[in-house]
């Protein structure tokens, strides 16, 4: 960004004009913008735009060269891919049963869809994940940041603060038990304020704003390279009214799915979407199915369906490339998304093992 104007690949006449106008670094050119540039050095707007495009390409080319050229195609073997995937992090959900059926947690570079009736806990899981993605590596987390795109207005920051406070407390208990230096150091930067400051919140009020936001995500994720989670809560709401032309909706959803897959892969992030349920009326009975139609079902790699059984909340892994279909119970406590406490609670305090997935069973107050 601090490249001298003289070193950019521009025509000599243009360079002379830029020097005469006083431009010295590439950053100054970018800051001025095309309108300002065309005014100041007396070139047409089209020329100014093309000049700025060249400058941007040069600067991003520099950055890519120093960063190792992300985005270029590379050939690799399946073994390399397997090793890469096994080294891939998971975002834990604090419900060990759910983490187990998912194979460790919400997987990075994949799209996970959570479907369920209203009130079953989809937004709670999203808020929990936005906090859990930030857990430092020494506690078993991926130490990332989160992007939260809210289309329904159900993001309540006080609830997120409660969940974050509970997570910090949990990590403090682990650190106290183990007394390791890197735990203490990590805890210095893992506080309620730091967690909240690394959740980037976008409110989209209709599908146009949502589409625009997703077009801007790749650039945002390049700037904020620590983001490891993108949540869209919920994807169905803006697309379920206002569409007389359903083929347009299918096209837009397919485009959205493709962009999200690219984002998940390129930036090594997990993408989590929440979907509504709708009734499909069959011959003799009707069933609840995820909304947005059959073709949307192909967008997500992993699909979870949350539902009720009398008054117990259950999560079913409905679609996964590597795990088998199963159902587990979960619960929502004031601390967030958790396991159901088994009736005979073995008060197993911090055991001397390094795996933070074996969480201590604390009495959760209701």
């Amino acid at each position: 960004m601090q490249r001298a104007v003289g070193s950019l690949p521009l025509g000599p006449a243009l360079r002379a004009r830029l020097a005469a106008a006083g431009f010295q670094t590439a950053q100054e050119l970018l800051d001025t913008g095309p309108c300002g540039l065309s005014r100041e050095i007396g070139i047409s707007k089209e020329e100014a735009l093309e000049t700025l495009q060249v400058v941007r390409q040069e600067c991003s080319g520099d950055a890519a060269r120093t960063a190792g050229g992300a985005g270029t195609t590379r050939k690799c073997t399946a073994l390399e891919l397997l090793e890469e995937e096994q080294a891939q992090g998971f975002i834990i959900t604090f419900c060990s049963a759910l983490d187990n059926i998912l194979g460790g947690g919400v997987q990075l570079t994949k799209i996970t869809e959570v479907c369920g009736a209203p009130g079953v806990g989809k937004t709670q899981l999203c808020m929990q994940l936005a906090v859990d993605v930030q857990i430092p590596e020494c506690f078993g987390g991926v130490c990332g940041e989160a992007v939260f795109i809210d289309t329904e207005g159900s993001f309540m920051v006080d609830r997120v603060a409660d969940i974050a406070a509970a997570c910090v407390q949990h990590c403090q208990l682990i650190a106290e038990a183990h007394q390791e230096e890197d735990h203490q150091k990590a805890l210095e930067t893992f506080s309620l304020e730091s967690i909240l400051s690394h959740i980037y919140y976008f409110r989209c009020r209709d599908y146009i704003e949502l589409l625009a936001q997703v077009y801007l995500l790749p650039d945002f994720l390049s700037e904020h390279s620590k983001v490891r989670l993108v949540v869209i809560d919920g994807i169905a709401f803006p697309f379920r009214h206002d569409f007389e032309d359903l083929s347009l909706r299918t096209r837009l959803l397919n485009g959205l799915a493709q962009q999200l897959i690219i984002i998940a892969n390129d930036h090594k992030s997990a993408v989590v979407l929440t979907n509504q349920m709708t009734t499909r009326i069959g011959q003799s009975q009707s069933t609840l199915v995820p909304a947005l139609g059959e073709s949307w079902g192909h967008a997500a790699t992993v699909r979870l369906i949350f539902h009720w059984d009398k008054s117990q909340r259950l999560a079913t892994l409905y679609k996964s490339p590597s795990q088998k279909e199963s159902t587990i119970p979960y619960t929502i406590t004031p601390h967030g998304f958790r396991d159901v406490q088994p009736p005979a609670v073995t008060q197993n305090t911090e055991s001397t093992e390094m795996n933070p997935r074996k969480r201590p069973r604390r009495e959760e107050e209701k």
Partner: protein
């Protein structure tokens, strides 16, 4: 849309005008490949156009959760709530009704839904420091006539209900003047009411509460079993419109809903039970309009009468036969919980 405002290559602007694309919505409805084909642009230009348009639409939209948490003035919808006028009920709801989103109040008849809504219409008129929004309310009746006599009773007794507010403040508020009553007994009138009349009142800042009493009544007669698709479309449309008004004007929308008894569900099978949130086995009722409507709600509250043999503790017996329960069925910020209340002359009061 004036394309000159965006930082676009004049070539692209000319192509937009030639293809007769007038709005950002039209641009974003097309994919990169469609834009290339329609406007004969290169792929880099098409991508640049989409990014520029998106950037213009979403400039200054990023917030961090910390800003939402700390800046209580700019993000009132996260921190402020509309009080119900009773501290016990407000504690159950952690402050009251959220400012943005649709809150549903469902229950059997004469459980107290209208009483709570009338009370809200008065509470909204108080100053901010007493839990109100310093504005009026619009009350849409879809079946019964508006209970104006009861409203007058409540107005006369406000000083008794709101002992926390100084009497000179109460006297200054002209309660009756700020409640706008609309009647809409069928779907078209209701649609008209939302899109024209309510939105006008909201734009002028005259109201900051919308009460619909009741949403289920609109759908009771007009749809048979075979019209479920049309009914779902209407529900989606009304839900989206109410949601959009609520978001634009930071105004709570309270919808009263009726309940169905579980015996009626034999036709639809068990899945309806699984989709109705928080319905315990012994509870015989579930809110009307099904999952299509429930998907639009931010918060669902259920009210019911407590029968004599279900009364919970000794304290409740003082209020003979008049005890109701207010239960949180679901909300993103509240645990499932309930409290008891009674309907007195001065209004709805919670029991500790």
């Amino acid at each position: 849309m004036d394309w000159e405002q965006l930082e676009l290559n004049p070539r692209v602007v000319a192509a937009l005008r030639k293809a007769d694309i007038k709005s950002i919505k039209e641009v974003l409805n097309l994919s990169g490949a469609d834009l290339q084909r329609l406007m004969k642009l290169s792929s880099a230009d098409a991508e640049c156009l989409l990014k520029t348009v998106s950037h213009w639409l979403r400039r200054n939209c990023m917030l961090t959760a910390l800003q939402l948490y700390q800046d209580k003035d700019h993000f009132a919808s996260q921190h402020q709530k509309l009080s119900l006028g009773c501290s016990v009920l407000d504690n159950l709801l952690k402050g009251g009704i959220p400012l943005v989103g649709i809150t549903e109040l469902a229950g059997e008849s004469s459980a107290g839904k209208t009483q709570i809504s009338l009370q809200l219409c008065l509470c909204v008129q108080y100053p901010y420091k007493y839990g109100g929004l310093e504005s009026g309310a619009v009350y849409v009746c879809t079946e019964d006539a508006f209970p104006s006599k009861r409203l007058q009773q409540l107005i006369d007794q406000q000083h008794k209900l709101r002992a926390d507010v100084p009497p000179e403040v109460i006297q200054k508020i002209r309660f009756g003047n700020n409640i706008f009553v609309e009647h809409a007994a069928d779907l078209d009138t209701f649609h008209n009411c939302i899109t024209k009349r309510i939105s006008l009142l909201l734009k002028r800042g005259m109201v900051r509460l919308v009460v619909i009493d009741s949403i289920a009544a609109l759908f009771r007669c007009e749809f048979g079993a075979s019209d479920s698709v049309l009914k779902a479309q209407y529900l989606q449309m009304f839900g989206a419109q109410l949601h959009s008004l609520s978001t634009r004007f930071s105004t709570p929308v309270v919808c009263i809903n009726q309940v169905w008894h579980q015996k009626c569900f034999s036709l639809y099978g068990d899945h309806f039970i699984s989709c109705c949130v928080g319905v315990s086995v012994d509870n015989k009722v579930t809110p009307a309009l099904g999952i299509t409507w429930a998907n639009h709600l931010l918060m669902r509250l259920m009210v019911s009468r407590v029968s004599q043999r279900d009364q919970l503790s000794g304290a409740v017996f003082h209020h003979t036969g008049n005890v109701r329960t207010l239960r949180v069925a679901f909300a993103p910020h509240l645990p499932p919980s309930f409290c008891c209340y009674t309907v007195e002359l001065e209004g709805v009061k919670g029991i500790k």
